[in-house]
């Protein structure tokens, strides 16, 4: 009966708000076949379906997390609309304009959600590149401190610095470089 916990859309959304991974997993499994069918019947592959679907779920997830979702329809319809838009964009990038999209569901136009997501994606792309260029051990050091939120003391032990001051100094230098790398290629579109 575990699954019946997430029978309604509200239950799923509540689960995601409470960081329940099972709710996310349930949601993911529930709607994947629909998107997979849509992508594949519109000249996509399995991998592309997975890619697009994950992106769609991320949009949805972040909307819920940011409490900025005003859902006027079913989750299913929302996901379908997001994925549909993403896929059209992907097709256009590949230079293949789908002259007729075979729709199996109703969809919304979603004027705002997707562009916002794309802007975020761009930022993350730049960040990933900057982190790659940064190299080790700077990358791990920063990730440990800022992303995994480890304490200075642990970091000192892990990297074998003599004291926290050296570590802090090192971190400062790394961050300085990261900033440089990041801002040379990223200009926020405001």
């Amino acid at each position: 009966m575990r699954k019946s916990l997430y029978e309604t859309d509200e239950a799923i959304m509540e689960g995601i708000r409470n960081d329940d991974d099972r709710a996310l997993a349930h949601l993911y499994k529930l709607h994947f076949p629909m998107i997979s069918y849509f992508i594949i019947s519109n000249s996509g592959t399995d991998d592309e379906a997975k890619d697009i679907y994950q992106e769609g779920v991320i949009v949805f997830y972040e909307k819920i997390k940011g409490n900025s979702l005003e859902l006027s329809c079913q989750i299913k319809t929302y996901l379908y609309s997001v994925c549909r838009r993403l896929w059209l964009k992907r097709l256009a990038e590949k230079g293949r304009y789908a002259n007729r999209i075979e729709d199996s569901e109703n969809y919304l136009s979603l004027e705002e959600d997707v562009p916002q997501h794309e802007e975020n994606e761009r930022q993350f792309g730049v960040m990933a590149e900057a982190l790659d260029q940064l190299g080790e051990p700077c990358r791990t050091l920063l990730e440990d401190f800022y992303i995994r939120a480890q304490g200075m003391q642990e970091i000192v032990e892990k990297f074998g610095y003599t004291n926290t001051d050296t570590a802090k100094n090192q971190k400062y230098k790394c961050l300085q470089r990261l900033k440089k790398l990041f801002f040379t290629s990223y200009k926020p579109e405001v």
């Binding site: 699954k3 996310l24 993911y28 499994k29 994950q54 779920v57 997830y61 975020n120 993350f124 900033k179």
Partner: protein, 365 residues
């Protein structure tokens, strides 16, 4: 210059952990020192981007693991199963009701449709042409032929007829009439009478509307049939008139008797009579005669599944066809018999005289 201490301060400021007076001092500094303000702004942005990036990576990782679990894990199947069970338990009652309703309506519909169809079935009877397929005779003949062939191996075994019907002479100079459907698809046609006279014939005129065909004897040795004992009736016969026919539903000639039961044929066809003579395949093309020995029609079919409902084309249409043929093929003389020798004689006497002019029509293809 900046060093990590200032960074620390910025970070603490951004995190909001700076003590109140230090915060006030820092904010005052921000207002005057634009470079510091920029730094703070940048710092905030980088940190935000980095943290969001981290979260995103985590989420992607999670989704990936969900995906692989979904694709490979047997758990997906079991959870599907449980979902199905849950669904079933929840809706078992509804489904039971729905199933019984649908069963009831299906059988109800079937039953009622059958009820409605019953009387209809009687009306949609089929019309059966009485041409006979000679499969059985063929075998019998082959057996005999085989016996002969073994005695005289050099002679090629003659092929037996594929279909047979009946035909009768309409003039002494070798014209015969039969039903069109009898000779349908024929390569060659042979006629043979009770006396054993055999002639090869060819088709000279056909009218599929009346289902009649006129054949002519081709044999060079043919010297004519002699005087025909019957005549053709031009008027329509009356209901209840006693009629009879002779035909070849089997190898020997067979007599059938009945009465004229309707002046119209199958589904109101006015070119035919309905007659109550038991008929069988092979009777097609036989003459229909009245008591006085006038030919009043040509047998051509019966209604399947109905006893005593057979049909014959009226003789007036046969006569009409003969004139038609005369016109079409100029100078063709068909001398129809004018004198009736059968009138007044007993039925058995009539049959004896008739026999020689009734032929079995054998169709080869």
């Amino acid at each position: 210059m900046f060093d990590h201490r200032i960074y620390e301060q910025i970070e603490r400021y951004l995190a909001g952990t700076l003590p109140a007076e230090e915060k006030a001092a820092f904010e005052a500094l921000l207002l005057t020192d634009l470079r510091l303000a920029d730094q703070v702004q940048e710092h905030r942005q980088v940190l935000q981007a980095m943290q969001q990036y981290g979260k995103r990576q985590q989420l992607r990782h999670k989704l990936n693991s969900i995906h692989t679990e979904m694709e490979t894990g047997p758990q997906a199947i079991t959870s599907e199963l449980t979902a199905w069970k849950v669904f079933f338990k929840k809706h078992a009652q509804t489904m039971a009701v729905a199933a019984s309703v649908s069963l009831l309506s299906v059988f109800g519909t079937l039953w009622s449709v059958q009820q409605i169809k019953k009387p209809v079935q009687q009306q949609t009877a089929r019309y059966v042409e009485l041409r006979r397929e000679v499969e059985k005779i063929k075998k019998e003949q082959r057996a005999i032929i085989n016996g002969i062939a073994s005695a005289d191996a050099a002679a090629p075994a003659p092929r037996s007829a594929r279909f047979s019907g009946t035909g009768f002479a309409i003039s002494p100079d070798g014209y015969i009439v039969t039903s069109s459907h009898v000779i349908q698809g024929a390569d060659s046609i042979l006629i043979e009478n009770k006396a054993g006279l055999k002639y090869k014939v060819t088709e000279v005129h056909r009218n599929t509307d009346y289902d009649l065909t006129i054949l002519k004897v081709e044999d060079p040795a043919f010297a004519g049939f002699g005087k025909l004992p019957y005549t053709f009736k031009t008027a329509t016969s009356d209901l209840g008139e006693r009629v009879y026919t002779l035909g070849f539903p089997r190898e020997d000639i067979v007599f059938g008797e009945g009465s004229l039961s309707s002046a119209s044929g199958f589904e109101g066809d006015t070119t035919s009579y309905q007659i109550s003579i038991p008929l069988n395949p092979g009777n097609s093309g036989g003459p229909l005669l009245d008591d006085k020995g006038n030919v009043i029609g040509v047998i051509n079919g019966k209604q399947a599944g109905q006893e005593g409902a057979a049909f014959a084309v009226k003789s007036s249409y046969l006569l009409q066809m003969v004139t038609e043929m005369k016109e079409r093929e100029n100078g063709l003389a068909v001398s129809l018999p004018q004198q009736n020798n059968l009138s007044g004689t007993s039925r058995t006497q009539q049959l004896k005289k008739l026999q020689d002019y009734i032929f079995v029509v054998k169709v080869y293809n």
